[in-house]
């Protein structure tokens, strides 16, 4: 119970701190401007306006969600170490693991609020254009949050040992590779055994972010099966737990 109280206290504080960040609101405003832009641009799409709004809207929300996540997550712990505010927290009987998990939950809550805001605007626009209530887009939102939870855990891990700029670069590389693993596997199919072995290791160890991508399905009103949804949730949960555990170890090994 005490552990849970500590984690929730840190989470609440992290949420308050991140949700007040002015740069976050600037990114959110840009994302809403982008969504409005898709509404305008869809009017010149020769009758495919709903398709354009769905495909560009979902893609835009994903890109802005990543920007928010990487921007907030990569400086989370590093900032506290630099400002020395972490010492006050660790002086109390709060473990580094509790700090890491609390930061994760707090940041996930902030990012969820941002994603929810963007989705509400997106759903409003689709309904305005006569697309009705896009229920399946809500599933895409859930998958986006699972994707972002892995990225948050990754960003927190990086922020335990790297500067915000370096952490952001690592995160961007992982995001790109995470979406390209299927392409890499296809590309090495005709290569030698060593290349295939390296690709296999990368494929199974690196976060396969394509698992969380159902945007292409949502555009056509299709949805994954219950078994698929359950496996993706389990994958995200286990991967986040592993990353947070490694982040805790990294944080513990750091001399403050």
């Amino acid at each position: 119970m005490t552990t849970l109280r500590h984690i929730l206290a840190i989470a609440k504080n992290t949420f308050r701190e991140t949700i007040r960040d002015r740069v976050l609101y600037a990114i959110l405003v840009f994302s809403l401007v982008f969504l409005g832009f898709t509404l305008i641009i869809s009017s010149i799409s020769l009758g495919t306006d709903l398709h354009i709004m769905r495909s560009l809207g979902l893609a835009g929300m994903y890109i802005f969600s990543i920007i928010i996540t990487v921007f907030l997550g990569t400086s989370l712990i590093y900032k506290e170490i630099e400002k020395r505010t972490l010492y006050f927290i660790l002086a109390k009987p709060i473990s580094r693991g509790e700090v890491v998990i609390g930061k994760f939950i707090g940041l996930l809550a902030s990012v969820s609020v941002c994603v929810l805001g963007m989705f509400l605007v997106y759903l409003g626009m689709i309904a305005y254009k006569g697309g009705g209530f896009d229920v399946i887009a809500l599933l895409s939102g859930l998958y986006t949050l699972l994707d972002l939870s892995v990225l948050i855990a990754l960003s927190i891990l990086f922020s335990t040992f790297a500067t915000p700029l370096a952490s952001a670069m690592y995160a961007v590389v992982i995001i790109y590779v995470g979406h390209s693993l299927d392409i890499i596997m296809q590309a090495v199919r005709t290569s030698g055994p060593f290349a295939r072995a390296v690709a296999d290791v990368m494929y199974y160890l690196l976060p396969n972010l394509e698992k969380f991508d159902i945007r292409n399905l949502v555009v056509y009103g299709m949805h994954p099966s219950l078994a698929s949804i359950a496996s993706v949730i389990a994958y995200a949960a286990v991967y986040c737990a592993l990353l947070l555990y490694i982040a805790t170890l990294s944080f513990r090994s750091r001399e403050l």
Partner: protein, 278 residues
């Protein structure tokens, strides 16, 4: 320690005035620069090959296809229908996002008009959409309409039958698709096809194309009525359309949207011919 004083109202107004004047000067210089810069002819945007787009779009294939589609629409508008990359762009769109239905139909119907050099490839894109069983009646219907224009009745009938079997086809269009080839008048069949397209399309370019075809058919009908009236009065067919104009059976030589000439057949029917420079 000296504290910095808050600016006075006069200073604030002066600063605002400087900023406004600066913005006006920037806008003015931009207008001047646009006028004096040489106007280069617009160049079409060259797209990366599909495998490159697929590799860098981090899984957002549908969004990438949408952007290529929007770019294509802009290029058609900018290059007044002579855009050379029409078919290759549509091929890229349908490869990146195979479920994006409308580009298949658009390629089949508008391809021969907008990119005559790649007419076969454009129709092949439409046929690809039918082969992939994309659930959109417009794809086989537009392929059938194009084959009808090319006077390939067998293929036209085949694709109209496929369109007629699709669940989302409007009832009035379905009747026309089912009855293709069963009536005597090919022109009436063709008119029904274009009327269906005109009534159902949400796309201005396609509606414009349908309107032009219907106008062309109206002109043929009007000419045949004038030929029939001339034959009734004189007992023989006119030599040419110019005779009908000279004898006041027509107010003027009709301006066809496809810039074709007209010839009168021995049975009184009027057909379109290649435009000759007079």
């Amino acid at each position: 320690m000296k504290h910095s004083a808050r600016p006075s109202q006069a200073e604030t107004i002066f600063a605002a005035g400087i900023i406004v004047a600066g913005c006006i000067l920037v806008i003015f210089l931009q207008i001047i620069a646009n006028r004096v810069q040489p106007q280069l002819p617009p160049e079409p945007l060259v797209l990366f090959p599909v495998p490159v787009i697929h590799a860098v779009d981090v899984g957002m294939d549908s969004a990438a296809a949408s952007l290529v589609w929007l770019n294509l629409i802009q290029q058609i508008g900018q290059f007044a229908g002579t855009y050379q990359g029409f078919v290759s762009d549509l091929d890229a769109i349908t490869t990146l996002d195979p479920q994006f239905a409308y580009p298949y139909a658009f390629a089949a119907l508008m391809g021969p008009a907008l990119d005559p050099a790649h007419e076969k490839e454009a129709i092949a894109i439409g046929e690809k959409g039918v082969a992939r069983r994309i659930p959109d009646w417009e794809i086989p219907f537009y392929v059938g309409a194009t084959y009808n224009v090319l006077k390939d009745r067998d293929n036209a009938q085949r694709y109209f039958a496929i369109a007629a079997a699709m669940p989302d086809i409007p009832p009035s269009v379905r009747i026309g698709a089912l009855s293709y080839g069963s009536g005597d008048s090919k022109r009436e069949t063709t008119r029904q096809i274009w009327e269906s397209i005109y009534a159902t399309t949400k796309d201005d370019l396609t509606r414009e194309e349908a309107k032009e075809y219907l106008k062309h058919l109206d002109i043929l009908d009007t000419l045949e009525v004038a030929v029939a009236a001339y034959r009734t009065d004189t007992g023989q067919l006119p030599d040419s359309i110019d005779t009908l104009v000279n004898k006041k059976y027509l107010p003027a030589y009709p301006e066809d949207p496809f810039n074709v000439d007209f010839a009168i057949q021995p049975n009184g029917q009027v057909i379109a011919t290649v435009h000759s420079t007079k």
